[in-house]
Amino acid sequence: MSILTVKDIYKNFGRNEILKGISFDMQAGEVLSILGSSGSGKTTLLRCLNFLEKADAGQVYVDDALIFDAKTDKKMTARELRSKQLNFGLVFQNFNLFPQYTAMENVCLAPQLLARENPEYKTHHKEMIEKIREDAASLLERVGLSDKKDFYPSQLSGGQQQRVSIARALALAPKVLFFDEPTSALDPELTGEILNVIRSLAEKDMTMVIVTHEIEFAKNVSDTILFMDKGVVAEQGPAVELIENPKNERTRAFLQSFKR
């Protein structure tokens, strides 16, 4: 059984075709890295899968159940969209933490708002909120920030902010967690702390899709690598094999450019 199946995703902006039929599937606990040069459509793919853009064609399945079909889902109600969205989590390149909330509040906000829709909320809201706060505290501990939970984003370094945003995405217990170039906005020294957090998640069998430019990291942490070029999957295979023995000409040229 696949936890995530993506079939033939197409997306264009006006006449500009960004995605030209992307397909892949993932098993639970698998880590998939997506490599490719700028403009190859990696970020657009992630945005389509997280419903920030609507794909023009294609289907998405979670646990083999269809959750998105471009043909029929052009007009989803907001409620439907949200329930589908909650299958996934997304960590942004530039964190997008909410500046008016502390690290702790950033992590708690979405679970608290979601809990309000639970019919038991009226009678048990104290226990529910207590539980959400406990979970959030343990998530912040997991990303190594228990001492920073009452800090505002502006008081944290870039690496710390990105770790809060990872905790925030984890708080909703998504089935698949997506990372959109999570280290690209960080200094090289801070990159390591994020990669360590992602590595520790991989060890706990979190299913993840990581768009990244960190070739070595992708090779070490992921099971599969997918190389994208001009809106299509140029090559896909086991991580170590793809990096050490690329078969596609474009993949070879791309990897070569990093060695220089």
């Binding site: 920030l52 949200r82 530039n94 997008n96 933490l97 909410f98 008016q100 909703l172």
Partner: protein
């Protein structure tokens, strides 16, 4: 000279010598003038607060309208803002007060007397300030990075939760300086209501020049109205400063 003497004098400011002009202020005059000015100031305050109460939320509605995807609504709002910002408030006030009288068979639908003038003034001021506020709001909302809304959306927040829990406070922080500017302008703009003889502060001051409360030809009460405006706008400046400080905990 006793104050009673001055009470029954109707003297002109202009045919007095320089030193005599200063003697036109004694305690009885001062207390009469102060109570009349305070009464006018109360009317000014009422107009001020009702305008804010109406224009702050109405401006938000207009700003949503001018950002709406539905083109006819967007153009309607933009046209309204263009007309209101493109013509003087004084003219709008005159039109809103007098035009209904031409349109309705039974005569002017505004209540008679001060209450009618006050209602017309409130209508004109709310409409006018709502349009200015709407543009400030639009700038404030568009200034919040789109990533904030996207982060809210992928966390499963509804559109209204995104607005009220994420965008709103960041927008308020951004718009506080221009809003405080507008609000302080409003304090002084209320004097424009005098054009339809609403009995606000300037009207009250001016009445002592025209003749009122047994006095005429007194010009200093008009000068003195400035003190009310200054004190009130000073108070507002302090208040907005405090608000800005309160929101300085995040960037």
């Amino acid at each position: 000279m006793s104050s009673a003497f001055w009470q029954f004098q109707t003297i002109s400011f202009f045919n007095k010598t320089h030193s005599e002009r200063w003697f036109l202020m004694d305690f009885a005059v001062i207390s009469t003038v102060l109570s009349a000015l305070t009464e006018g100031f109360m009317q000014t305050l009422k107009l001020f607060f009702i305008t804010l109460l109406g224009a702050l939320p109405l401006g938000l509605i207009i700003s949503f309208g001018s950002m709406n995807r539905f083109a006819p609504l967007r153009y309607l709002c933009k046209t309204l803002v263009w007309i209101i910002r493109g013509t003087p408030l004084m003219l709008q006030l005159i039109i809103i007060f007098y035009i209904p009288g031409y349109l309705f068979e039974g005569g002017n639908p505004w209540p008679s007397g001060e209450s009618g003038r006050f209602l017309a003034a409130c209508t004109a001021f709310i409409l006018n300030y709502a349009c200015y506020f709407s543009e400030i709001y639009r700038g404030g909302i568009e200034g919040v990075p789109v990533g904030q809304q996207e982060a809210g959306q992928v966390l499963g927040l509804t559109k209204s939760q995104v607005f009220f829990k994420i965008t709103l406070l960041q927008m308020i922080k951004r718009i506080l300086p221009p809003i405080s500017n507008e609000v302080i302008t409003l304090v002084k703009d209320t004097s424009i209501a005098r054009i339809i003889s609403m009995q606000e502060l300037i009207w009250a001051g001016y009445s002592f020049l025209k003749g009122s409360h047994g006095y005429s030809g007194l010009i200093w009460p008009l000068f003195f109205t400035g003190v009310y405006y200054l004190l009130f706008s000073g108070l507002l400046t302090i208040l907005f400063g405090k608000l800005e400080k309160k929101l300085s905990y995040f960037k």
